[in-house]
């Protein structure tokens, strides 16, 4: 018997007045409450004469046992502490380590002891902007943004035109040369010309690029200064609320070709309401430049930017480096990103992080798996390095510097039409051979992770590709599409039900995005599947109860 187990012996006289005893082993320290005591009493009584149960013996047993446990436990705890002191005295415990650990814990987790970091510039700007955007200055902000955007997009157009002109003249020149081939020119001449043309083009592009970059930097500074200074003014004057009844928010800039909306209830007993919209559109339309036309969605996006109801879009991307969809990059570059870094910089940084991540993974995998949500600040970039999980691919591939299917990276935007946040989900499904996937496929698990991240960070409107594809292809048969859509719908439903227990923001609208080139017939079929998978809310009909 080890020293943390004690034996309780209970002596009693049974109904025939003979002396009996019952005993039970108790494990120390005894940390659980009265319920556990009751359990022990029950076990003792079961060992005793059944008559005792009817003689209300349990009360006596309980009192005796209780006293016994309290005393034994106290002795045990005292001894335990004294043994610790002995260890400390014999230098078996590293007291300095204890001191360091204690200090670390207090400094890392309790605000009074932490090294206070003031709010970052980003925080301050975010608050200023959020305040301003909910004031009468809103119109002015939008007007400015539009003006800035116009400058950039004009420059872009100019660049495109010049490049195009150059292209055509160069083409002509080349054609002429080629006609003269073997007459007055040699192939070397042509090669030379090619190289020369290429460098001219490159030069023009670079000139524009650097000009654009400078312009954007300039605009960004000007804009941010202006915002900060406006907030100062707002403080002086009485802050006016957002102009109510602005009609602008009612317009939606891009009308997708086909769409259908549903209100659904999820949950078996307690029902949560969500909106589901199925639509067919090009994913880049959801990430189109915000200020390009006179659309007024800019207002929605500005109001929501620093709120806790963000809009997110899931875009599929192959696993080569951190490569975003080209047209989205182009769209994001159509105007200055005033709030976050320009998309190229964001992507560049992410790429670096991916390298770091792989290095970290391969050198110290144990750090990741052991560190919990607290105290992992020794890895500077991982805030919530979260477990090692078994869902990932084989660990031998750790050293490669790319993301795998199901991983995703995130870019943030203030100048796209319908998304604040883009989840770039890695999917390597070959374009021309639709494969079969199941609910345990990494890309689906990645989708779950996206929903989880969305819930944790208040993304309440999320668009996901309903077929996990952005384009239709010849091989995508109707049956395949239906199977795939059913899988995605059902998994999304499961994740949404699950999300209720995550304790984050509830997803209010889920948009299921179908490829823009889908046939109308197929769209109708797939839209028809939505109410079968999700439970569509009953219409509320008001009836006069007096009737």
């Amino acid at each position: 018997m080890t020293d943390n187990i004690v034996k309780f012996i209970y002596k009693y006289n049974n109904h025939e007045n003979t002396e009996c005893e019952a005993s039970i082993n108790i494990e120390l320290p005894f940390e659980r409450g009265d319920e556990c005591l009751d359990e022990l009493v029950t076990r003792l009584l079961n060992d005793m004469d059944t008559m005792q149960r009817y003689l209300d013996e349990h009360e006596k047993v309980k009192a005796a046992l209780r006293k016994f446990i309290i005393d034994a436990n106290q002795i045990y705890l005292d001894k335990f502490a004294e043994r610790l002191f002995e260890h400390a005295g014999n230098n078996e415990l590293d007291l300095e380590a204890v001191i360091r650990k204690t200090e670390r814990q207090y400094k890392d987790e309790i605000i009074q002891f932490a090294d206070r970091i003031g709010p970052s510039d980003e925080d301050i700007f975010a608050q200023s902007f959020h305040r301003l955007v909910h004031s009468s200055s809103l119109e002015e902000i939008l007007r400015r943004e539009r003006a800035y955007a116009k400058v950039i997009s004009d420059m872009n157009t100019l660049m495109d035109e010049e490049v195009e002109y150059l292209n055509s003249t160069q083409q002509k020149e080349m054609d002429n040369k080629i006609k003269q081939l073997d007459i007055t020119t040699t192939s070397d001449d042509i090669n030379n010309l090619l190289a020369q043309q290429y460098s001219t083009q490159n030069y023009i592009r670079q000139r524009y690029e650097s000009e654009l970059q400078a312009k954007r930097g300039h605009q960004r500074n000007e804009y941010r200064d202006w915002i900060t200074c406006q907030v100062g003014k707002i403080f002086e004057t009485s802050p006016a609320a957002t102009p109510l009844g602005n009609r602008s928010s009612m317009f939606i800039s891009q009308q997708p070709s086909m769409e259908e909306s549903f209100t659904i209830h999820l949950g078996s007993q307690l029902k949560h309401m969500h909106n589901i919209r199925i639509l067919s559109a090009d994913v880049t339309d959801l990430c189109s430049p915000l200020h390009i036309d006179e659309s007024l969605n800019g207002l929605n996006m500005a109001l929501g930017l620093y709120s806790s109801s963000l809009c997110g879009v899931v875009v599929l991307t192959p696993s080569i480096q951190a490569q975003a969809n080209r047209s989205i990059i182009k769209n994001a570059n159509m105007s200055t990103e005033f709030h976050f870094e320009q998309i190229d910089n964001q992507l560049e940084k992410i790429e670096k992080q991916i390298c770091n991540l792989s290095v970290n993974d391969s050198t110290s995998p144990s750090v990741n798996s052991n560190s919990s949500a607290l105290g992992n600040n020794d890895i500077p970039l991982n805030t919530g390095t979260v477990g090692s999980g078994s869902a990932g691919g084989s660990p031998t591939k750790m050293a490669t510097t790319k993301l795998k299917t199901g991983d995703f990276f995130i870019t943030k935007h203030s100048n796209l039409s319908q998304s604040h946040v883009i989840f770039h989900l890695i999917s390597d499904e070959p374009i021309n051979s639709p494969s079969e996937i199941n609910s345990r496929h990494p890309v689906i698990l990645g989708l779950r992770n996206i929903l989880k991240t969305a819930s944790r960070h208040d993304v309440t409107t999320l668009t996901i590709p309903a077929l996990m594809r952005h384009e239709m292809s010849e091989d995508m048969t109707v049956q395949w599409c239906m199977r795939r859509a059913e899988l995605v719908f059902k998994c999304a439903k499961g994740f949404m039900i699950e999300s209720a227990s995550w304790g984050g923001a509830e997803l209010s609208t889920l948009q299921l995005l179908l490829p823009h080139d889908i046939s109308e017939e197929l769209f109708t079929t797939l839209a028809g599947m939505v109410p079968n998978v999700f439970r569509v809310a009953n219409p509320k009909i008001l009836v006069d109860s007096n009737k």
Binding site: Q353, K404, I450, G503
Partner: protein
């Protein structure tokens, strides 16, 4: 009124912190996702609400915010010791504080609790210098700090063994107490301005020291003061500050120390004078409840104080998230760190709302009809959900019911009468128990809830699926409690078995009486025989079949068109209604709806649930009528949202207008034996299955005839000759001709204005040939006639009724 005009101080305060988040996608041993730590905290914390002791601040509420935030609301008032000790205190006062903290520690030790964060900031003093300790439950609710990322306790007052990993020892609190008292006696702040590492080093260096108190005095140049302290008191502090825990005294030992016992009255608790603000004489938990109704919102109070900082979520979004759990993102914001500021909740709003109430409202007189506690009729007209949110109304109701409950069981009838109006949510648990005639006698404790049985496996499987959207029921503590309740019920009923659904049935009682398992158990114990007699037999098929047959008949009685449609598509109740009745709808509705449903159910008899079932069908009527078999199955597989208020009203209406014998079932707990004028036991299941319409007893028939002849329409199916011979007054002779019934058209009967005559009345088919009545009643139902029933035993039974009701020529 009698209230003073000065603004009273706040009595409540809130603190907040974040629970640890679970790393990644870890699953528990049962394969289900782990319970969020904030929920586990919520469950563990509940028992703290029950601690009521003069030296402990009462815990009032635990709120779970977004993203694992936990908010704790508790009593808070007066001055903290930290503020009070800015000036030197008298030794006698210090001794008093010492004594009273020991009292608090003793109480906690008896409850198996340790404080582990005892410090002057958490010690409150009222005007009479009574001590109450605050925030003493943090260590317990966070399971020794396991559920939170931050360390618990002020380093300065922490005993050396805590740094080395010892925990849960009450003697550690004795050390903290010793430090606090030592600090007061030396009139200095120990180690002020020192870094945490240095303080820790100091405390650990005590391991080699004999007299800690003296050493501290020496370090702080207070040896002179040290020498002045009363020798006995100094010795007491020194024992508390003994490095070896075994040599530190237990609270009980301290209390019986001669230093205290010789002069207990100066140290012991003095009852403060009764507040002249009537509201403050009410129990604190009620005040908090009303505070919430008066618009109080803890979260917004914390926000105002900057304790809940709203940072733009978009800034915290990570950059990369990998399937293997790796996340790259911005640094964790400091707003997630522990901030132990205390935010008092202002009661001003509540005082304003209640300032016009007469004193009678606070202390209602329940036995003097001269002072009725009517709130005004207009209130009763409002929907229940509005009444439940009305601060003044709830104030009246809560005061009234808390008084009535004190008088239970003598006030049983009054409780029943008041409960018929509505039940205040705040007291629902105990009120239900009264409606179920529960009288706790300590029997729950005797039941064996622990010995493993064969049903354990099923119970283990069911519990993690039972109303898990609810925070209390999904917490580990909730799971344990539910398991104990279920096992206790199974042990207490050897004649019954555990049927799946018992878990759902138990959930509402546990939810309402989370801290009072015995009450929850006894309520369930009484509830089942009242509404579900014999449903939990191993072979319950006869009971369920009878129940469902009766359900079909009553559907035909109240909703003939619907009944006709459902029977035509063969959509029988067996396909959908078993879980409804077996769990009294607790499996199909969320808890907040079950509350309102059962509020009324508790007042009705065993037939009431049948009407709830019909009212659900009624609400889905239009969908059902346009659906075929498959659509109906789909519809009921995941029941759509039902409007509970309508459902309750409808079922109430139907329940009231249905004669008792119409809803008669054989398998109920009967208090009075059946007579020959009731539905007799010879009516078998086969009869029920063959008849579309329910039977009415001769007793109810006569009753109707005497008291409400306008509510009934008796159709006499015998031949005209027999009718002319003898008949029931006001009855209509419709001689039975089988051929007329081939098509469901009323005019085929050739009785003028028959439809108008039957409208709004209970239609009773009387015949001497039972088969005729059955066929004819079916015909009426198919014609869409409401409330059709058959007289049990036919016309002949009417001859035997005394006094005679028949008219004979």
């Amino acid at each position: 009124m009698h209230q003073s005009s000065s603004k009273p101080e706040s009595r409540l305060a809130a603190i907040t912190f974040f629970a640890k988040t679970h790393p990644g996608d870890v699953c528990g041993s049962n394969g289900l996702p782990l319970t969020p730590n904030s929920i586990a905290i919520l469950g563990r914390a509940q028992r703290l609400k029950d601690l009521k002791h003069p030296h402990l601040c009462q815990y009032l509420d635990f709120v779970r915010g977004k993203h694992e935030r936990t908010i704790v609301v508790s009593e808070y008032f007066g001055t903290t010791l930290l503020d009070k000790s800015r000036v030197a205190l008298l030794d006698s006062l210090i001794a008093r504080i010492f004594y009273q903290i020991v009292c608090a520690l003793k109480e906690l030790a008896e409850q198996n609790l340790v404080v582990h964060n005892l410090e002057p900031k958490h010690i409150l003093l009222d005007d009479c210098n009574n001590v109450k300790i605050f925030n003493y439950g943090l260590y317990h609710m966070t399971k020794c700090g396991d559920y939170v990322p931050f360390p618990i306790g002020n380093v300065r007052y922490m005993p050396p063994e805590r740094f080395l990993g010892a925990k849960n020892n009450i003697k550690s609190d004795i050390w903290s107490l010793g430090m606090i008292v030592a600090e007061l006696l030396l009139q200095t702040t120990i180690w002020s301005g020192m870094k945490i590492s240095n303080i820790t080093r100091k405390i650990l260096s005590f391991l080699q020291v004999g007299n800690v108190f003296e050493k501290i005095a020496r370090e702080h140049n207070c040896l002179e003061r040290y020498a002045q302290i009363n020798g006995e008191l100094r010795a007491l502090v020194e024992t508390c500050l003994n490095v070896a825990p075994s040599k530190r005294p237990l609270p009980t030992e301290l209390l019986s120390h001669p230093y205290f016992s010789k002069d207990v009255t100066t140290y012991a608790y003095t009852e403060p004078p009764k507040s002249n603000v009537l509201l403050l004489r009410c129990p604190l938990e009620q005040i908090y409840y009303w505070w919430q109704l008066a618009g109080g919102d803890v979260q917004s109070e914390l926000k105002k104080e900057g304790l809940i900082r709203s940072e733009a979520p978009i800034l915290a979004i990570p950059q990369i998230v990998c399937l293997n759990g790796a996340i790259v993102g911005p640094k964790r914001s400091q707003s997630y760190l522990m901030d132990d500021r205390v935010v008092p909740l202002k009661l001003n709003n509540l005082f304003e709302k209640l300032c016009n109430l007469p004193a009678m409202a606070y202390f209602p007189l329940i036995h003097s009809p001269k002072f009725p506690h009517n709130f005004g009729a207009s209130m009763a007209q409002l929907p229940l959900v509005i009444r439940e949110k009305d601060i003044e109304y709830q104030f009246y109701r809560v005061r009234l019911f808390s008084r009535l409950l004190k008088g239970y069981p003598y006030t049983s009838d009054m409780i029943r009468k008041e409960a018929a109006k509505d039940i205040p949510p705040y007291l629902r648990g105990p009120i239900w128990a009264c409606l179920l005639d529960v009288i706790p006698i300590g029997s729950y404790e005797k039941i064996d809830k622990f010995t493993p049985t064969s049903t354990d496996r099923q119970i283990e499987v069911d519990i993690p699926r039972c109303h898990q959207y609810d925070e209390l029921l999904s917490s580990p503590v909730g799971h344990c409690k539910l398991k104990r309740l279920l096992k206790a019920w199974v042990t207490a009923h050897p004649q019954y078995v555990y049927w799946q659904g018992l878990d759902s049935l138990t959930a509402p009682f546990l939810y309402l009486n989370f801290n009072n398992e015995e009450l929850a158990f006894l309520s369930l114990y009484k509830f089942i025989p009242k509404y579900l007699q014999w449903f939990f037999l191993r072979d319950n098929s006869a009971i369920i079949k009878e129940y469902l047959c009766k359900f079909s008949q009553l559907t035909a009685f109240h909703e003939p068109i619907l009944a006709k449609h459902l029977s035509s598509i063969n959509f029988i109740p067996e396909l959908f209604a078993i879980p409804w009745f077996l769990t009294m709808f607790s499996h199909v509705f969320p808890l907040h709806k079950i509350m309102h449903l059962w509020d009324k159910l508790m007042l009705g008899d065993s037939s009431y649930p049948l009407f709830i079932g019909i009212s659900i069908l009624k609400q889905l009527k239009s969908t059902l009528l346009s659906s075929g078999f498959n659509e109906c199955i789909l519809l009921f597989s995941d029941l759509p949202d039902i409007v509970m208020e309508n459902c309750v009203l409808e079922s109430q209406k139907m329940y009231e207008c249905t004669p008792k014998s119409v809803s008669h079932r054989l398998h109920v707990l009967r208090e009075e034996p059946l007579t020959e004028f009731d539905i007799t036991t010879d009516v078998t299941l086969a009869h029920l299955q063959a008849e579309m319409c329910p039977r009415i007893s001769a007793k109810d028939f006569t009753n109707l005839l005497h008291h409400a002849p306008n509510d009934m329409c008796a159709l006499d199916l015998r031949s005209a000759v027999e009718y002319s011979h003898v008949h029931v007054p006001h009855s209509l002779n419709v001689p039975f001709v089988a051929a007329q019934l081939s098509e469901p058209r009323l005019d085929a009967l050739g009785v003028p204005q028959l439809e108008e005559l039957m409208h709004g009345r209970i239609v009773i088919c009387i015949s001497n040939t039972h088969e005729h009545a059955v066929q004819f009643s079916k015909f009426l139902v198919e014609c869409g006639v409401l409330r059709v029933c058959i007289l049990h035993k036919g016309f002949n039974i009417l001859h035997t009724i005394e006094p005679n009701i028949l008219i004979s020529n």
